[in-house]
């Protein structure tokens, strides 16, 4: 019996240390107890917030990424894509394909907001080297949170304003309150960021100048759409137009950003010249173009989503630029500088028709497939259904954001068509993953145009128009063959509107520009403009016809449907946007023969 008692003693001892026996710690993750402790942790937390931003233009979220949605909903473009890609065409038509069409966008943006909230809640925890280091973290987090809320508010109108990391079921916050938070965050960013010119090493990170430019964009949208004069601040007070102009001028004069001499060298098609490709792109060669690239030469790109060579199908497709793939055409049999993709966002012929021919930006932005300047051969098969079910085909494609190929020997010496990134960055050749163009969200030209718009002066407009002849860098670029456009003599809103349309075409701003120029009480006029897309000749899957079905409803305020799952999970605390209630929201479906 003694033996047994001895053994049970052992057992009891075991029980005594049971707690430590069961205590385990995560070995590949930190916890909130040992993270947010150092400036390095804070930088990693910031990186995670940037990643949500870059993850938005990928997967199912890509369709409704504000940049993309703004393009598809605008008067410039159609949904396009393949027969089965309903979402882009539904977005173009202001319809839904399901009850949770925008859930991915909603999720990603709130993930980004959560990560910023977490950062700002823990901002005082680490010991910083100096105040400016802390100010930079605070500035970046505030800038990102402002941008996330601005994008959400432009897309969905009023949304719940979540400013804490603890789970909360919140109703919609009035727009004035959300914009006050956005303005306050941006003001914080402007004040906290160090006031130094941009640095190449920090490309991709927000800085003071980005905050100033975004503030102007927010101001213009809020005061335009909501038809007010000032932008409110949290705790009272507001931001006036004069303050915004001051910030824009600070940005224009002190940031170090500037217009580049050749507009067309901003875009990767300019890389497909004889130096880079055995079968160069005719337009590039004829115009002597050479891409500025993304190594910091381009001083016009102020804030961009950066892409890299590390994309992986299963985990991180968003490290590559999926939007470029999305906007590439579906002509797989065509081999040339224009690479293949999913065929979304075909260009409305009316944009081409309206655009003066003497503007180099017209052919610098649009590829008309049968235009002699392009050198696109017949294998493009315009309008042939064999063209892999291209929908909304017009024969006009934008060329700022799309796959660009060069003809070059690969690593085994075989000449082949591949994306320029294979040569420039040693990317793995894979047309779905090798687009790496950065998406420029704020371009210096926009700063100049916003300045013109806010001040009612022509300076900004004319600088943009005349970029080929003024302020040429020393030495001047090799070839600049085009004449500069004539200056305009007096400012008018119409002139400004036209200039923005030409300069910033296909850069994700058009629809929001339209919303703010019309304002919430004049959306019936916007309806007329947008529904003029109906009737434009398009070819669907080889069958010629006309565009039908664009249905802009002023009752929606120009905003989109909140994911219904979110409405249901909130148990009615969150209310659906007008016009998008279940049963009311118009559904986009496959085209019927009738």
């Amino acid at each position: 019996m003694k033996k047994i008692f001895l053994l049970f003693l052992t057992v009891a001892l075991f029980a005594g240390c049971s707690q430590s026996f069961l205590d385990t710690v995560p070995l590949t993750m930190k916890t909130n107890n040992d993270f947010y402790q150092t400036p390095k942790d804070m930088d990693m937390a910031l990186t995670a917030a940037y990643v949500t931003m870059v993850a938005c233009p990928s997967g199912s979220v890509l369709n409704s990424y504000p940049f993309v949605a703004s393009e598809l909903m605008s008067d410039d473009r159609f949904g396009g894509g393949g027969d089965n890609d309903l979402d882009p065409r539904a977005i173009c038509d202001f319809k839904i394909t399901g009850q949770n069409m925008y859930l991915g966008t909603w999720q990603r943006y709130y993930q980004g907001i959560f990560r910023c909230n977490m950062l700002l809640e823990n901002i005082d925890k680490p010991k910083y080297d100096n105040e400016s280091q802390k100010g930079k973290v605070q500035g970046e987090a505030s800038f990102l949170r402002a941008m996330f809320y601005f994008d959400l508010s432009r897309m969905f109108g009023e949304v719940p304003l979540v400013l804490e990391t603890k789970p909360q079921n919140l109703p919609k916050t009035p727009a004035a309150q959300t914009y006050a938070q956005i303005a306050t965050d941006l003001k914080t960013a402007i004040e906290k960021f160090p006031s130094v010119p941009w640095a190449v090493a920090d490309m991709g990170r927000a800085n003071k100048w980005n905050a100033e430019a975004l503030m102007a964009r927010v101001f213009l949208f809020y005061t335009g759409y909501y038809e007010t004069t000032d932008l409110p601040l949290v705790g009272g007070g507001s931001i006036t137009k004069d303050e915004v102009i001051t910030w824009l001028e600070d940005c224009r004069d002190n940031s170090g950003y500037q217009l580049m001499p050749e507009f067309r060298n901003l875009w990767p098609y300019a890389v497909a010249n004889a130096a880079h490709s055995g079968k160069p792109y005719k337009y590039t060669v004829d115009n002597g173009l050479s891409w500025y690239g993304e190594d910091g030469t381009n001083k016009e790109s102020m804030f961009s989503l950066n892409f890299s060579t590390f994309a992986d199908w299963s985990t991180s497709i968003y490290y590559s630029n999926q939007m470029d793939l999305f906007f590439g055409w579906r002509a797989y049999s065509y081999k040339g500088a224009m690479g293949e993709g999913w065929g979304m966002g075909t260009v409305n012929k009316s944009l081409w028709d309206a655009w003066p021919d003497d503007d180099i930006r017209k052919r610098g932005s649009i590829c008309k497939v049968d235009d002699a300047s392009e050198g696109i051969d017949a294998t493009y098969d315009l309008g042939v259904d064999f063209h892999d079910k291209q929908m909304d085909e017009t024969g006009y494609w934008q060329k700022k954001y799309r796959p660009i190929n060069v003809w070059k020997a690969n690593s085994t010496g075989v000449e082949e068509w591949h994306n320029y990134s294979v040569d420039l960055y040693s990317a793995t050749r894979n047309f779905q993953l090798d687009n790496m163009q950065d998406i420029i969200l704020i371009r210096f030209a926009d700063v100049l145009l916003m300045h013109s718009e806010l001040t009612g002066t022509v300076a900004g407009i004319n600088t943009v128009r005349a970029r080929s002849s003024v302020n040429l860098p020393d030495p001047p670029p090799a070839v600049t063959t085009h004449p500069s456009l004539p200056d305009i003599t007096s400012y008018s809103l119409d002139a400004l509107k036209a200039e923005r349309r030409w300069e910033l075409a296909f850069e994700g701003v058009r629809y929001y520009d339209l919303l703010r120029w019309y304002g919430k009480s004049h959306l019936d006029q916007l309806e007329t403009l947008l529904e003029s897309k109906n009737g434009v000749a398009t070819i669907n899957n080889g069958v010629p016809g006309v565009k039908r079905g664009v249905l802009f409803r002023p009752v929606t305020g120009g905003f989109l449907q909140i994911p219904n799952q979110e409405i249901q999970l909130s148990m009615g605390v969150l209310v659906q946007n007008p016009g998008w209630e279940t049963g009311v929201a118009p559904t986009y479906s496959f085209s019927a023969v009738k």
């Binding site: 993270f35 942790d41 709130y110 990560r115 985990t315 259904d385 082949e416 960055y425 799952q565």
Partner: protein, 1049 residues
């Protein structure tokens, strides 16, 4: 009470020691007078025993105090014979008809079947081995009611989807496997030849002793133990070998080239597009038109004819006074029926050694005071397979949809795709599916090693008081290696860089258990067994490392090792290593069983478990159970009925179990660094890593609890020839562990919450009839079980857990979900009411307020049900269109033996379930091939009221998830038929105890109306683990013809 028992035992000992030892011999024969070898002879109340030899003879020394000999042999009624001073005891054993005295395993002990109060079923190892299957699970199919075993796929080495009494959770719903007392992952790494018995614990009271892990039922596996052989015989040796040829049982009928062309043109005309100019797009079009060539049948190209399967097992057991041993070695090798030319393949070696030693006997030599023993199993397997995942990672599917126009092989080596044929102009980005399979999924190999062992000691200081301490160790190691070469198959399917991947992992777990058991009687009528125990387990002590790189120096699979890729490239080289995630469970448990004259029985169990998966304070779970049995047939009032009902027992039980299988650290706000990289600055190859809080912590997360009531009846009729077991149960899972969708505006991942309830209710019935007529023995057993599964609570506002989208085709909506009021994983979609035959019918299809419901439809389109009568077809009209959970599962087993011949048949089936089947990607791929089912499409008034017209591209007809994709999948499979003959019966001179030769057919026939290749589908195709019944290109089970031999020495 202890004092009294000790006194009692002492008295007993004193009494026994007065009697001297004696020697006994004898011959055991069956009812027909044939000597029986291998019969176990044991002196009752001791562990002294032996086996009869080839001649049926035995001889043993009966220790002092031994008064009775027990004779037992599987399939025969054991007999107890009093020695009564004789030195020769000859016995005739009768074939067993009741099985009531068989001993079953109940977890930390054994129990006579007659005394069992819960719902348990035992399957003998012999019955499993007889079926010559690769895995014991295949042999278990249809053997026991309430146990659903569905093979994931027919790919060699693929596992099983096992549910006891329905799905109780969308988390891990597989039962707990306990092998020789040690909890293990599954039993796929055991050779069926090593199994002594499998016991299935179905109700909560039976599995309560496994507490936190018993919620989905428990499967106890006992591997073979040694028995002391008869004197003069050193060991018992058996060899079993079989060799078989496997073939596809049923092939999907794919469209031939000319039919395919016609169907494509029909779809195009329907969509307003011109007919195809096939002659310019398809090579050898003239031969297709003339009928000289019918196109490539890709499923034929994928198939192997007469794929071999082979099993060999050698078992040796024996022993002496000092101890016993049993060892076995086996080898199995199976080639798959799909995967040509890379063949899916599985090969397994196992080795087993179990032994037990008596170290100390008590003075009277009547019981062992100290015993020690060990178990050891080693398994080594290598396998490789082809893709069986979703539509983008499934080689069967790729071959179903590939165009018959594309030739398999290149004409000559000027083709860049040589030896395969490059894509043809018909569709320049549709590549050769076989080539794609070979390059992307074909060149790989998995190696696995498993070592499981335990060491135990039994201390019996006084008779019937046994202390057992057991230490178990389980190790597993594996590696996976693959090579993807540089290749070109089409304009979009090529690789310009090769890839070598190699991963390895190694880990182990250990457990230590201590139990104290005491059997005692109070008076002569009250028998008790008390068990107290404690266990500690640590798992997840392991690591994985892996890497991939490019530019192999050898460019083949054989040399696909990372050392052969010396160039490190930031874009192409990747390395990783990670720990497995350590966990632990600490437990205390007790059981008290009581029996009054084996007439009234009761058992109470309490187990307490603590798991490291939960936060301090929520770790401990307590799992009680009670059960009782009443052998009514023992009652006096029953005696006049006993001629009709030979035995009748009523059982009832209630108990609770748990499930702790969730991700660890749900109670912490963890910071993840996975896939959050960003790229600042001018260099695209410089990475900055991010970190973010990836879940909202839930400090309250704890056990999932299963509560089950079971009432059962066991009965014997017709002189014990007919036995019946009947059970009714109600099983409810409370605090279901799930990751319920939370508001996206929370901004990060929802943690596991104890957020739902699931109910499973069912009835089980098993009938067995055995009889003989002279030398003819025959038996039939039939079992059937019914289960109803329903989710009764999900703790979010929607009450829904959504399933995957895009399952049945590119861009299709959600197919399955878990939702309150419905079975787990039910299919949701539109109900169709036929096909519009005319335009007039379209106009006439109105809701109650008179609005036309499908105004844009044309003749030939599907009529969708406007469930809510609102005049439009949308999400709100979706209903349950199918349920992948069967209502009934059934097994039927027949066997006949006559002299040396034996014939058996095993069959199993499932009824009432549906399968969602899609053979194409539809919308984005109008050039996918069709199955010949499409001949039944609508193509003119009256031609079909089921399948709609074809279109070239997307249409809601094929794009909406509707009941046209749902099929009833009732089936009954004749899974095995075996005919054997024991040559020993004919030629007595053979120096063997048995020389049985047999031939069998596995998967002989499937009775079903299901149109796919195989209605038994266990795989979830990479979708949620709880998704079931989805057929999007399935690797079916083969039909196998097998020859084999069983030899006993």
């Amino acid at each position: 009470m202890l004092k009294r028992s000790v006194l009692f035992v002492l008295l007993l000992l004193a009494n026994l020691s007065l009697i001297a030892q004696q020697s006994v011999t004898g011959v055991i024969r069956d009812a027909g007078g044939q000597p029986m070898s291998g019969v176990t002879v044991i002196v009752q109340g001791t562990s002294v025993g032996t086996l009869t030899g080839v001649d049926g003879k035995y001889s043993l020394t009966v220790p002092a105090g031994g008064t009775t000999l027990q004779f037992s042999f599987i399939g025969f009624t054991p007999q107890d014979v009093a020695i009564s001073g004789r030195s020769v005891v000859d016995v005739r054993l009768a074939e067993a008809v009741t099985g009531l005295d068989e001993v079953v395993v109940i977890g930390y002990g054994t129990l006579k079947k007659k005394l069992v109060t819960g719902a348990t079923v035992q399957v003998k190892g012999e019955d499993i081995q007889k079926l010559s299957t690769m895995s014991a699970m295949t042999a278990l199919q249809g053997q026991t009611p309430g146990l659903s075993i569905i093979k994931n796929t027919g790919q060699p080495g693929d596992g099983f989807n096992v549910n006891i009494r329905g799905m109780g959770t969308i988390g891990n719903s597989q039962p707990l496997y306990v092998i020789d007392g040690v909890p293990s992952g599954n039993i796929d790494n055991i050779s069926p030849a090593d199994i002594e018995s499998i016991d299935v614990l179905k109700d909560a009271a039976s599995s309560a002793i496994y507490g936190s892990r018993g919620g989905n039922g428990v499967i106890l596996v006992t591997t073979k133990r040694g028995v002391r052989p008869a004197s003069g015989v050193k060991a018992s040796i058996t060899y079993d070998g079989s060799y078989g040829w496997q073939n596809l049982y049923k092939k999907l009928p794919m469209m031939k080239a000319l039919d395919y062309a016609n169907i494509i043109d029909e779809a195009r005309v329907n969509s307003g597009q011109p007919r195809m100019d096939f002659a310019s797009l398809v090579p050898d079009w003239d031969k297709i038109v003339s009928g000289e060539w019918t196109g490539t049948d890709w499923l034929d190209e994928l198939s192997y004819k007469n794929a071999p399967v082979e099993n060999n097992a050698l078992n040796i057991s024996g022993g002496s006074e000092a101890g016993t041993y049993s060892m076995g070695i086996s080898h199995s090798n199976q080639t798959g029926i799909f995967g040509n030319p890379v063949e899916s393949h599985f090969e397994r070696f196992t080795f087993r050694l179990n032994s037990e030693y008596t170290l100390l006997r008590d003075k009277s030599n009547s019981f062992d005071i100290l015993k020690a023993g060990q178990t050891l199993r080693y398994m080594n397997s290598n396998s490789h397979g082809v893709g069986t995942g979703n539509q983008y990672w499934n080689d069967v599917f790729s071959c179903m949809v590939a165009s018959p126009f594309l030739p398999m092989y290149a004409v000559d080596n000027t083709d860049v795709a040589f030896p395969y044929h490059y894509a043809i102009p018909w569709k320049l980005n549709d590549s050769n599916p076989i080539g794609n399979m070979v390059y992307n999924r074909g060149l790989n190999e998995s190696l696995n090693h498993n070592l499981n062992g335990s060491f135990f000691i039994d201390i019996q200081p006084i008779r019937n008081l046994i202390f057992k301490s057991s230490f178990g160790y389980s190790m597993s190691a594996g590696s996976w290696r693959s090579y993807r070469p540089v290749y070109t198959l089409s304009a979009t399917d090529f690789q310009s860089i090769d890839k070598v991947s190699h991963n390895m992992n190694f880990g182990y777990s250990w457990s230590w258990e201590n139990t104290l058991t005491y059997n005692f009687k109070l008076g002569t009528d009250h028998s008790f067994t008390a068990l107290l125990g404690q266990s500690a387990e640590r798992n997840g002590l392991g690591e994985s490392v892996g890497g991939s790189n490019s530019a192999s120096l050898f460019a083949d699979f054989q040399h696909a090792y990372l050392q052969n890729t010396p160039v490190v490239d930031v874009n192409l080289t990747s390395v990783t290593s990670s720990p497995w995630g350590i966990g632990g469970i600490l437990s205390y448990f007790g059981r008290l069983s009581y029996s009054f004259r084996e007439k009234y029985m009761a058992t109470a169990i309490l187990r307490a478990d603590a798991s490291s998966n939960f936060m301090k304070g929520n770790r401990w779970g307590y799992f009680p159970s009670v059960s009782a049995g009443w052998v009514i047939s023992e009652e006096n009032f029953f005696q006049n009925m006993k001629n009709t009902v030979n035995f009748l027992k009523l059982r009832a039980s209630w108990g609770q179990n748990g499930n702790e299988a969730i991700n660890a650290f749900q109670y912490l706000s963890t910071i993840s660094f996975a896939n959050v990289n960003y790229f600042y600055g001018p260099d695209k190859s410089i990475v900055s890593t991010g970190g973010y809080a990836n879940i909202l912590p839930n400090p309250d997360v704890t056990w999932e609890t299963t509560d089950q009531i079971n009432v059962g009846l066991d009965a014997r009729f017709l002189n014990n020839k007919l036995s019946a077991e009947f059970d009714v149960y109600s099983r409810t899972t409370f605090d279901w562990l799930l990751r319920a969708p939370a508001l996206a505006s929370y901004g990060t991942g929802a943690p596991f919450v104890n957020g739902g309830d699931v109910s499973n209710k069912g009835i089980e019935l098993a009938l067995t009839y055995s009889n003989n007529a002279g030398d003819l023995n025959y038996s039939a057993s039939w079992n059937i079980s019914y289960n109803h599964n329903e989710v009764t609570r999900i703790a979010n506002a929607e009450g829904i857990i959504r399933g995957a989208t895009g399952v049945l085709g590119e861009g299709t909506e959600e197919l399955y979900r878990a939702q309150v009021g419905f079975p787990i994983g039910y299919f949701r979609g539109y109900k169709t009411l036929g096909v519009f035959q005319t335009e007039a019918e379209v106009g006439a299809y109105k809701n109650s307020t008179g609005s036309v419901i499908q105004p844009t439809a044309v003749a030939g389109d599907l009529i969708f049900q406007d469930t809510n009568d609102d005049g439009v077809i949308n999400d709100l009209d979706k209903v349950m269109i199918g349920d992948p959970n069967p209502d009934f599962i059934m097994g039927l087993n027949l066997s006949v033996s006559y002299k040396g011949f034996d014939l058996s048949l095993a069959s199993n089936g499932a009824f009432g379930q549906q399968i969602a089947r899609s053979s194409r990607r539809w919308a984005d791929s109008p050039q996918n091939n069709y199955t010949t089912d499409i001949f039944d499409r609508w193509h003119g008034e009256g031609s079909s009221n089921k399948l709609p017209r074809l279109t070239y591209g997307s249409s809601i007809n094929w794009q909406y998830v509707s009941d046209i994709f749902i099929e009833n999948a009732d089936y009954m499979k004749i899974s095995n038929i075996t005919l054997g003959y024991d040559l020993k019966k004919l030629i007595k001179a053979i120096p063997l105890a048995q020389a049985r030769f047999f031939a069998s057919v596995q998967n002989l026939h499937t009775f079903t109306k299901y149109s796919g290749m195989d209605p038994e589908i266990g795989i979830n195709n990479g979708y949620d683990s709880w998704a079931k019944g989805i057929d999007i290109g399935f690797y079916p089970s083969a039909r196998t013809v097998m020859l084999g031999v069983s030899l006993k020495f």
